[in-house]
Subunit: 355 residues, 2 copies
């Protein structure tokens, strides 16, 4: 920290992303919920075709991505927002809808970045405990008097609320914005997009990082009422108007249009996830019923950190979270079937050493 930094940030604790070792190619990487599959071939082609036009700024209207999203989700472009990763939409939303007089609340076990945004924006944050089964209890968020942020499905727990449960939270916070972060929704949960016509206080955020295999492109999108979307645009045009680059605009549009590939990839992840979950259970794991591209699991004899370290020593990266309730668990991203077979093979060997 320099002597020049604004004192309000003196105790800022930035987000710590999943580890990315320098010799990453030597690892099977199951620690940051990336997809094992390439982007849609149509997206790759679109990137190659667009690269020679990079001397020009991106379209300020977000075309052709906006039209593709509008068509795919049946939402007019005036209700869509795009950003440099969904993290940026979250950051803009904290700026727009939280403040000195408006705190925020979110589950005590969730995406770690919510706490960081609250710190950055100097916003009072209330962490609401998950229940004993790691579930979000909708009633705990009713009439919160705060901006509500809920990841659905939640991370790292992998559990999803039903659409009715989400609606109950939105309905019971009529004077506050409810942000539903649907980064993992395409792996089996119900999206709240259908509710944006009904509630002007709902913001639904999605991403190309997981189900669309483009974590490296940095592209997020969101749906909401026209008021909320225009607020986000006011922040964007005061922070970084050209936040989505030309390649992301064409790759995103092409990816959205390639529904066949999208279904193929997400269905394969779900298939491999269910297989992996069954194998883990046979090895003595308790596995939470996942609606995401990862599993959150606890072994009946070996601790989470020990498993994490032992797999790392074998060249397989998974994620372990400190914290009283999460420490017994590991979070394992669903990779390709071959990667999971290798992980399961090494895991079995590790567990045998404990017998």
């Amino acid at each position: 920290m320099s002597r020049f930094l604004n004192s309000r940030y003196s105790s800022l604790k930035p987000y710590v992303p999943g580890e990315q070792p320098k010799n990453i190619s030597e690892f099977i990487k199951l620690n940051t919920n990336e997809s094992p599959f390439e982007p849609s071939p149509m997206a790759i082609k679109a990137i190659n075709d667009e690269a020679t036009r990079l001397n020009l700024y991106p379209t300020p209207t977000g075309e052709p991505l906006m039209s593709a999203l509008s068509k795919r989700y049946g939402v007019p472009t005036s209700r869509i927002f795009t950003s440099n990763g969904s993290d940026e939409t979250l950051a803009f939303a904290f700026l727009a809808f939280c403040g000195k007089d408006k705190g925020v609340c979110f589950p005590d076990i969730s995406y770690g970045f919510y706490k960081v945004y609250a710190q950055l924006c100097c916003v009072d944050a209330m962490e609401i405990p998950l229940d004993k089964d790691f579930k979000v209890v909708p009633e705990d968020y009713f009439n919160s008097g705060r901006t509500v942020v809920i990841a659905n499905p939640n991370a790292p727990t992998s559990l999803a609320l039903t659409l009715d449960e989400v609606e109950s939270i939105v309905k019971n916070n009529p004077n506050d914005v409810v942000i539903i972060d649907e980064a993992y929704v395409d792996f089996g949960a119900q999206s709240a997009v259908s509710l944006i016509d009904k509630y002007d206080n709902l913001l639904v955020i999605q991403t190309f990082s997981k189900s669309r295999n483009m974590a490296g492109e940095r592209l997020g999108f969101a749906f909401g009422g026209e008021g909320i979307i225009s607020d986000l645009n006011a922040i964007r045009y005061s922070f970084n108007p050209y936040n989505v680059d030309r390649l992301a605009l064409v790759a995103g549009a092409a990816s959205i249009e390639d529904e066949v590939y999208f279904k193929q990839c997400t269905e394969e992840i779900i298939r491999v996830r269910e297989y992996t979950a069954e194998c883990l259970k046979k090895m003595g794991f308790e596995v939470l019923p996942s609606k995401t591209n990862f599993l959150f699991a606890k072994h009946n004899a070996v601790g989470g950190e020990a498993i994490y370290l032992a797999l790392k020593a074998k060249g397989i990266l998974i994620r372990h979270f400190a914290g009283e309730r999460t420490a017994p668990y590991v979070r394992i991203t669903i990779g390709s079937m071959a990667q999971m077979e290798k992980m399961l093979y090494e895991l079995e060997a590790i567990l045998n050493e404990y017998k």
Copy 2:
């Protein structure tokens, strides 16, 4: 604006980028200081090679871009920052180095976004008038007690300070950060990068948008003391850690390594600029001595807005800024020689109508 927007933003006036008409392909576009040239062929190849790896997050270390910048500019990576366009570095710097107790100052005629950042961060902004010849007067910024932001060369005036003048400002604000925005420096001005070892309060910002022909990729970079750079990283890791995507990282690195193409493009812009300036002078324009990829010029008989509108009607977009001192002028981006010849031809016809 929705009923949910934080009241501190109720009077926010977002930045208005140069116009991008929908039927843009019908225009010769000389209004947003883009390059008429494609990115380096090496950058295009790097993008094509990397596209299949977009399922993985970018490297958090910013490689391979960081190493390329370090080598090219002779600066260790601990003193380099990269961002999603240089606008994002500016936004992060306003968050980090301005605040309730620390105002900002910048020239009254400069990049219009500085005012917007000050508004967004609720920072007191002092606009310091340029002198009668549109020059920044270094002494006006001495011991300002504020964060200082100066575009060098300045926009839309196109004028540059010497390195000694810049150093005098940095030296005479020892307790405040001085930000030198060098978006246009490669077209003939002196960079202040060499001063970062000497002054811990200096931040030098550059971009790939102008001299490296990649406005559409959104890639900025900055040099400063380790303290300042670590402050910017603290903000970045609390806002959007993966702010630079994989394609930008490889395209940026390849572009930096292709020094031959960089020189070829910047020298051609300078050659076309000098030619265009001479032609404009012959037509009765007063042209400020530009060190940028644009010209700021005033005709002795026809007003700036009239010229702007007449050229637009002929399918040529240039930029006009309202404001007492800028209204008589137009800002013309330097395109290819063919584009400038066409612009000059149409301009001559327009001026003849006023005779």
